[in-house]
Amino acid sequence: MSPTRPRFAFLVHALSVPHQRVLGLRHFTPGLAFGRRDGTSPYDLGEVARVGLKNLVDGVVVDVPMTPGQMLEDQGRALARMERLVQSIQRSEPVHAIGLGSLCAVVAGRGSALADRVDVPITTGGAATAWSLLENTRAVLAVRPGPVAVLGSRSPVGRAVAALLSADGFRVVVDNKRAARGLPVEVADSPETAAASCRVVVGAGPTGGTLAPGALQPETVLVDVAIPATPAGPVGAGVRVLAGEAVSVPRTWSRGGWGRVYQVLAGYGPFQVYACLIEPLVMAAQGRKKPFALGRNLDPDDVVRFGEAALAYGFAPRLARGWFAARL
């Protein structure tokens, strides 16, 4: 890598025990690969892949091989491991910005505790997620005009998306009265009521399983970023659930062999990434020090700024079902 190019890092964690084993193989750490260690050791941190934009910005995906259960069980330990990983990166190949993937962006005060402990800007991916969700929802609304329900509206992403959709002039229904403060939106008394009143629904909550699936009427399109999905079970016939966070990559995207493996194991598929991965890339490329998103802070104006920059670098929101593009 050129030492002169801006650099970023993206912190992830194992999504399951089999993932831990793969990461052990990737790190050449037999103890982790063959299950003799459980992924919580400070010696099992390592690199997953190199990604970036050719001749513009270099990135490294690094991991804390703790499972979701381990991350949630002991947030203090997850924080300590993330801090150690960041310090290790900064000693070897310093970066200009660090993004947090999945639960790394959730535990320990949504990135704020890590940001307090290290001297490199930390960003959670919230602006990127909100931007891709917003743009994908706009694409749906362009062919299915009408009111739109925003579920998970109390979350930073949900509130930003509700604010920006209402600024577009759409009739927006949210599922939380506190999320509606200061916004020209309607408030439903429950997620089910909000969903039932609209044929375009946005799932903006970070965790899913929160909506009775029967609330989604036939012909409804749900644009969702929750993991697992927002409906707490299979949806009815005629309801389409689309990924809200998928982003297509430009021709200059570089990822190498392990990058391809990472894209598959992370669930992105071979043709797209999730938006949160490119938030630190944009920060590094722009030389921006201020996080786009950290803790509960997510300014809708930063969502717009991030989107403009991401488009300029060749990334584009992509309505997807699983790995593949969806047609409306």
Binding site: L72, D74, Q75, G76, V106, G109, G152, S155, A179
Partner: protein, 147 residues
């Protein structure tokens, strides 16, 4: 069952230890993006403060740091399950009478008439008060002092 000294009940919410309450209130305010005066011990965390699932994680983390304690995952519910066999705790997702009785002991800050027959396991968190976490902190501090 005798209560840990300092534990608040629904009738004694005005007797909180100011040193503990201040930190608990700050943790809630920071995690939920609220002003300090928007957080009261009697508030229901979900209904009154509009907390979402991830906010509970954030609140727990901030309390752990503020008091140097470790809050076990599912700490409140696991306390309620103590002494009640798995099969005696719930039937088809509905809490048994034994479980409700245990829950009333474990959550004295919740008015007893809210924990009545028909309450579903999934609905228990809707009754959590700010005082529920205050009491959890008091309990864990007492355990820590015992060593």
């Amino acid at each position: 069952m005798s209560l840990t000294p300092g534990i608040l009940t629904a009738d004694t919410l005005d007797q909180a230890d100011p040193a503990i309450w201040e930190k608990v209130r700050d943790a809630f305010a920071e995690a939920l993006g609220l002003d300090e005066d928007e957080v009261e011990l009697h508030h229901k965390i979900i209904e009154d403060l509009d907390a979402e699932s991830l906010d509970f994680l954030d609140i727990a983390f901030r309390l752990e740091r503020a008091f140097d304690i470790k809050i076990p995952r599912g700490g409140i519910e696991s306390t309620a399950r103590e002494g009640v066999g798995e099969e005696d705790y719930e039937v088809d997702g509905v809490l048994t009478s034994a479980a409700l009785a245990r829950l009333r002991e474990a959550m004295p800050e919740v008015p007893a008439d809210e924990l009545e027959d028909g309450l579903r396991t999934a609905e228990v968190a809707e009754h959590f008060r700010v005082a529920t976490f205050y009491n959890l902190v008091v309990h864990l501090l007492a355990e820590k002092a015992k060593g």
